[in-house]
């Protein structure tokens, strides 16, 4: 008994959800996929941004998506500082693989607990004018609560892609993970480039936090739900492929929602992650990754 309207709706809402996953994954795709910095605390940073935005917007009624754009530079600076630390203590010593991972795990714990200590364990949310509104495209509904973050996500991703393609620093970001010191032969400072790129990835976490707080209320631990998903999306795409990350995020969202519609939501995570396992088994470099000899 397949209702085409139901399926169409599942696909569309899956796409909107996918856009949220995309913006949540995109920063990680930069830090993890391109810079080789496995920032497992990325979702926690996103939730941190959500909480900060909630604290700013809830009393003032300021729009959270705009607020995200405003705090993104601050997060970017913090990220840049964090990278300097990471570089000093891990990268420079060549210990980044496992020690760096543990560092970010520790950071994740610290962020979460600090959130509990500062903001308490309650949910945080923001009231937006468009919260309950919905656009209708024929029988397909587009809740603004999902649609606006999705548009914001797409716009930011487009800007990011453009920057990576067109600007020199952007191009160097793609090169820096492969041979850091080789950039110096070209007159580029690799540390500066990685600092900029990592800062950018954390700024993206702030944007994602803005999108998230519009979509749902958050508490200190909301990030956990996203760890598996964003990693899965980045890997599904193939490390370092940003357009791939967008596609993979959309695929992930659609699969989750279509599975939920057809077989019940209980199976969505299993289906989505089985897809990841299957892709990895058949195409270890991910859907859009480049094969390594």
């Amino acid at each position: 008994m397949l209702d085409p309207v139901l399926i169409a709706n599942a696909v569309v809402s899956g796409l909107l959800l996918g856009c949220l996953y995309a913006i949540a994954s995109m920063g990680l795709a930069v830090s993890f996929g391109m810079l080789d910095v496995v920032n497992i605390a990325h979702p926690a940073m996103m939730v941190l941004a959500s909480c900060v935005i909630a604290a700013l917007c809830a009393p003032t009624g300021f729009d959270p998506l705009l607020a995200a754009l405003l705090i993104a530079p601050v997060f970017g600076l913090l990220g840049a500082g964090l990278y300097r630390l990471y570089h000093l203590y891990f990268e420079r010593r060549g210990d980044e693989a496992m020690q760096g991972l543990a560092f970010f795990f520790g950071l994740m714990i610290v962020i979460e607990v600090s959130l509990v200590l500062v903001y308490g364990a309650d949910q945080r949310w923001v009231e937006t004018g468009y919260g309950g509104l919905s656009l209708g495209l024929g029988p397909v509904g587009l809740p603004l609560r999902m649609l606006l973050p999705a548009l914001m996500s797409l716009a930011c991703i487009a800007a990011l892609l453009l920057w990576l393609r067109r600007s020199f620093t952007g191009r160097a970001v793609a090169a820096v993970a492969q041979d850091r010191d080789a950039l110096r032969f070209l007159g580029a400072d690799p540390i500066r480039i990685k600092t900029v790129a990592f800062g950018l990835s954390v700024a993206l976490a702030a944007i994602a936090g803005g999108c998230l707080i519009v979509v749902q209320p958050v508490d200190a631990h909301s990030g956990h739900v996203f760890i598996g998903r964003v990693l899965a999306v980045v890997i599904l795409a193939g490390l370092g492929s940003l357009p791939g990350t967008l596609v993979a995020a959309l695929v992930f969202g659609v699969i989750e929602n279509v599975t939920a519609t057809l077989f019940g939501p209980a199976w969505s995570p299993a289906v989505a992650f089985s897809l990841l396992l299957a892709v990895l088994a058949l195409r270890p470099q991910g859907m859009f990754g480049r094969a390594h000899a």
């Binding site: 599942a10 809402s13 909107l16 308490g120 309650d122 949310w125 631990h221 598996g228």
Partner: protein, 400 residues
């Protein structure tokens, strides 16, 4: 002996009451307000002259919402801290791991919001502060269906959706059972996993099944998700609500505001005239003052009254036993009724309430996000059980 009317400063070594509480992790949202209520109680009792003439001191640790920490904490409390009394942490997952330790020492144990935790252990010295009673799988949703029976025409179809967790599963089971009893056909019945982010597929599937009644069994984050999706996708029903945990909590009340109107929801307490007992108002005042300072869970209508009642039950059992003898306290738990700020409680041999008291309230006339309105009667109108009933059902969801 205590002086007449005037409290005397308690003398001697304080009585130490040990427990763990989720102060971080997934359950902290309820654990922290519960702790605050317990601390209010401790201040109260010390001001009143203490317990058995001794002052009371709470010894508690954060179990991080992780059951694996619990056995260690309770053995530490008993073996190292040598506490005199123990009470439980919050919820089944954090109560059950303490049971073997408690049983081995034969401690009396008043627990907070477990669901049938003692079914397996069959331990005699325990009482559970949870209105769901012994047969949650049957009774929990009774009120919802009793209320629905008053609709005209009587509802014929039902959709069930709930979180895949212990509490919600039992709630859904009860809804199925009640639906069978009432001859209502279930047209949609699904559980969703805790990691669900987008609830629109569920709400949309329910909408396309077009049921008369919608029964949700959810936890705070998903309660919001479900209601938001219901609003956006214009889900309508003759009655909507059920076993939702979330709207009871301040943050979610403030968040949803008028969206709550006409929601018929399970609850444990509502500030209606029919549910005012000795001490209730005073407690809420004291609690709210303390919570305001901390900026968290300022209404205190969910876990706090229960946690305070938990301490009251312990207090009275100890007083009745007249000593700290655990067997005597344990026995006292089942003997007589306990007047508390949430009414009179009576426990059966397994420690569950002799009579279940699942309250169903309907949100009425909520406007905006002002919290003060939730302190007033008439906003959370009690529709069930009949003895506390304080208003009339407004049919249909959402509110016109």
């Amino acid at each position: 002996a205590a002086g007449r009317g005037v409290a005397q400063a308690p003398a001697g070594e304080p009585i130490r009451i040990g427990f763990s509480m989720p102060l971080s992790g997934a359950l902290a949202g309820n654990g922290r307000p519960a702790l605050l209520a317990q601390q209010v109680w401790a201040e109260d009792i010390n001001a009143r002259g203490g317990l058995l003439g001794r002052s009371v001191k709470l010894v508690f640790y954060d179990d991080q919402s992780n059951g694996a920490n619990v056995p260690g904490i309770y053995t530490k409390l008993l073996d190292v801290d040598k506490v005199d009394l123990v009470i439980s942490s919050y919820g089944t997952a954090l109560i059950a791991p303490a049971m073997p330790v408690i049983i081995r020492r034969g401690m009396a144990f008043v627990s907070l919001l477990g669901s049938s935790t003692n079914e397996m252990f069959k331990y005699g010295g325990t009482a559970n502060i949870s209105p769901v009673g012994r047969r949650m799988n049957v009774d929990f949703a009774k009120g919802f269906f009793e209320i629905a029976r008053g609709l005209n025409p009587t509802p014929a179809t039902l959709s069930i959706a709930g979180l895949d967790s212990d509490f919600s599963n039992r709630a859904m089971e009860s809804a199925r059972w009640q639906a069978r009893e009432h001859g209502i056909r279930v047209v949609y019945d699904r559980a969703y996993p805790p990691s669900t982010v987008d609830f629109s597929p569920i709400v949309r599937a329910i909408r396309s099944a077009a049921p008369d009644l919608v029964f949700f069994a959810s936890y705070p984050p998903d309660s919001v998700g479900l209601l938001k999706a219901a609003g956006e996708l214009k889900l309508t029903a003759k009655m909507l609500g059920g076993g939702m945990v979330g709207p009871q909590v301040t943050a979610i009340k403030a968040q949803l505001g008028a969206q709550l109107n006409n929601l018929v929801c399970w609850d444990v307490y509502a500030p209606e005239p029919t549910m005012t007992f000795p001490g209730t108002a005073a407690f809420l005042d004291r609690y709210r003052a303390a919570a305001e300072a901390k900026g968290a869970e300022t209404l205190g209508l969910y876990a706090p009254p229960l946690a305070y009642a938990q301490m009251q039950v312990l207090e009275q059992a100890v007083t009745r036993a007249g000593s700290l003898d655990q067997a005597a306290i344990g026995a006292a738990l089942h003997r007589e009724a306990f007047p508390t700020i949430i009414g009179e409680l009576r426990f059966d041999q397994t420690g569950e309430w002799v009579e279940e008291r699942n309250i169903y309230i309907q949100y009425q006339g909520v406007t905006g996000n002002d919290l003060a309105q939730f302190k007033q009667p008439g906003t959370q109108v009690i529709l069930y059980p009949p003895q506390y009933r304080s208003g009339q059902l407004r049919p249909g969801f959402p509110a016109a």
